[in-house]
Amino acid sequence: MNPLLEQFLSETRESLQGIGEKLMQLENEPESAELMTELFRFVHTLKGNSGLFDFPELTRVLHAGEDLMDAVRDGKAAYCLPMADLLLDAMDYVGMLCDEIENDGVYAAAHAGDSVRLAETLRRMIGAPADAPGAAGAVSPSAADPGPSAEVRSLLSGIPERIRMDAYRAQTSGGLHCLVYSPVQDCFFQGDDPFFQARRTPGIVWGGIAAREAWPELAEMDAYNCVLDFHVLSEAPAEELKEYYRYVFEQLQMTTISPRCLILPQGDPNGGPVYEDFVGDALGLLRGGDIDALRRAARSMLELSSRELWFSSALRWLLLATEVEPENGVVLEAIITSLRTLAAPEWHVLAAAAGPQSPAATGVCAAKECAVQEGAVQESAAKESAAKESAVGEAGLLREETGAAIRAIVDVQREILSLPDEVAWIAGRVKAAAASLEGCLRSSGSLDALPGLRLAAESSVALLSAAPLLAWVEEYAEEMAAAPPSSPNAAPNAASNAAPNAASEAAPNATPATCQAEAPAAREPSAEAKPSPAAAAAPQPESEVKFGRRVEDVYAAAKSIKVDQVKIDRLMNLIGEMVVAKNALPYLAGRAESVFGVPEFSREIKAQYAVINRIAEEMQDSIMQVRMMPVSFVFQRFPRLVRDTSNKLGKEVNLVLEGEETEADKNIIESLGDPLVHIVRNSLDHGIESPEARIAAGKPAAGTLVIRASQEAGRVVIEIRDDGKGIDPAVIKRKAYEKGLIDEDRLERITDPEAVNLVFASGFSTAEAVSDLSGRGVGMDVVKTAIEKVNGTVHLESEKGKGTRIRISLPLSMAVTNVMIVESNRQIFGVPMDAVVETVRVPRAAIKTIKKSMATVLRGRIVPLKALNTLLGLAAQQRANEEDELAVLVVNVGDQQLGILVDDFHETVDIILKPMTGVLAGLAAYAGSALLGDGSVLMVLNVKEVL
């Protein structure tokens, strides 16, 4: 997961929490415009942020929420409790998506539908129309849909017969999908090409284009106002289509149809009596089960008729149907009967062949037959249909009709059961199918088959697979349809029995246990929980879509927390004190041995000290980690700075940033900011030449400025390198001499690398004129001071004509300082370990006095020596040890090594260096003071100042 997304998720969580709080507060004071504004700001920010990522569903819901709050702010809508509920729901939804993103990096495409519904419900609160009026439904999940809408039917009839026949022949198990994609009018301005999108629809069988409205006069036409609708018939699974159209989901209307709905004969309805005869014969053949003869008759009839006739078209479909599903008498019969009426078979009505006893029954069956919807709504509808269908028997229908109805129901169940098993609601689906089948058994009177059915259903539920029940259906289907209703009384009983059954079977599913936290299934239980047939037949009111957040749900814990820096600093101070306090233990151990004379006790204290020391160090390390920040914090300002500055100077510069993830203590990073800006400005102003000069010098026109951060041995190293004209040491020397920074003597001796480092000297400037960018002669001096303040060093290398390189080295942290304790004149002093090179004991004889200065030779190098007592103005002489050797602490000062004579060396300790305050602050010789473990005060020398 990239850092940006991580940041987004953590911010989103914060915002969601903020939104939740504000909503709660609003409940108490609903009139507060201030709260509403804050709320709006939260959502607005969240929406803006979400736009950075590829999460259209998230953005869509947030956008709708933002619109709603904006409307409330403007007084267009009144704040009310349902609105708060809805907003909380929407925020739960956003939170849920965030959880999924956090866990998997993406969320399931199935959320697209929910997001559209939510956004729409939110918008409805405003009273404003949804994004795309008319297309609002997106996937029409309504179970009571009486077959395909007129729109879909006209769409289907627009598909050439050949293509429809191919699609019907393919008999896609998941059903076919009719898409009506109505892009928004201004989509062209957003760079969309909806035609291209439609052409690339997965599993596309056919596509067509239609105008949404009548065409205006050409002269008045706006070519860029999209008025086209794209119609697509696809055999791809609904999920795939949803995923493909997820960005424009609200502009899409998707209807699932059974392949049978494609049987739409077309042509010239020029009827005649000859057809009537054929219909009679054909029905006879069909009932006699002689499909072959039927096929022959149809074929010869087809040869006799003109191709263009409606009749011929129907015959072609009949032939195809005998080929594709010869066993399905209902379909064949329907096609044959349609020859009589010259009207396309009403497939959804046919399924409920029992006729229009109750509108609900028709609706339910229609939904099953013609709109094989996946999902819980349909499952529950099917369940209810069991009761209805058995009630069908009550009306005292003719035997054949009942048989046909049962056959149709069984067919549907078979179809449902052959859907893929890999869905969360498979158990519900199986139970629903079993309930339907049970109803059929009851109404046909085959009660003895009931135990077998129940057994099959139970094993199906247990295995979470439809296979056992499907096998049962295959075996008993024919038998069921053939069996007559045993007695007129059986049916009413069945009806009254079946309904409670269906309801009670649905009930266990309604317990929250089945839904767990599984988001896609979250809607299912609520849909199934409605035991009343009327309620189940109607689709769930959309506003009641919940996203399964309950008190007992596990909320994803936030991974990051925001802490006030003061708290961290306090922690830092405490661990510092801890480090000091633990240093008291070795003293204690020493006292146990020397004063109280118990060496065992001393050893034990030392052992304990080792443990505490380890923990303290780890603790210190962890706290350091908390304070660590990546250098990108400082680096991020440079792209803009370089761009602006180079534009102003008319130079071309490529900025290269490297190692932005390198981390260091917050204080260090913050102290880096200004020095780096100075250095970069200097590089741009003085270093990199104008494009013409660069080309003349044989370099590419665009200069390169590299800023690289890296970690080296516990220090952060920042390198700023340009390929500009470099620094001419001769010029520096002359300027430095002119300004009196160096004397004549030094001028002659100074080496070129030393000379270029003179730019850091105070008051130095080579520029003839002061510009607003640089040239005041304070820049590099300020850089050096700022860096040294945090114990850093800065070094410059330059080669004339090739470029300049500045290396800044900084400690990773500055909280705890490691110092060496030395003794002189019975006092102890600290010397920062950074400065210490080595400790040696030099025999007095090896110390030579040259003029008035002492020096010695160490490994072939002359090291000047200075006595600490002299440096500090103490009258005493340095003491030597028994062998007459003097203790020499070799330190680094600038680029030189120098020996300090002391009386004795002690251990090194970690201390918290406190700068001198008050009147003592003026004593430059000391860097600060620190408290030691035994309670004494240690003065830490500022080596550079002392010498």
Partner: protein, 79 residues
């Protein structure tokens, strides 16, 4: 240019972008009986398409891209 205009014909080639629609609309305004040749066309932006639909254009040459041709058949008449 993905659309080349001859005396009474707009000849499409490759993919016609949205920016072509303005010119096409203008041309169709001047040549109400203008014919369309989609032979070498592989895709056209819907802005072009709706301009042609509004003008009731006749396609003289169907696109050799069968997929595109099938789509266009539903929107425009072919001679």
């Amino acid at each position: 240019m993905a659309i080349v205009y001859t005396k009474n014909k707009a000849v499409f080639s490759d993919a016609a972008g949205a920016e072509e629609a303005e010119t096409l609309l203008e041309w169709l305004g001047k040549h109400p009986k203008g014919k369309i040749d989609l032979g070498a066309c592989v895709h056209l932006h819907p802005a072009n398409l709706q301009v042609m639909m509004a003008a009731g254009c006749l396609v003289t040459v169907r696109s050799s891209d069968q997929d595109l041709a099938a789509w266009i058949d539903s929107a425009l008449k072919t001679i």
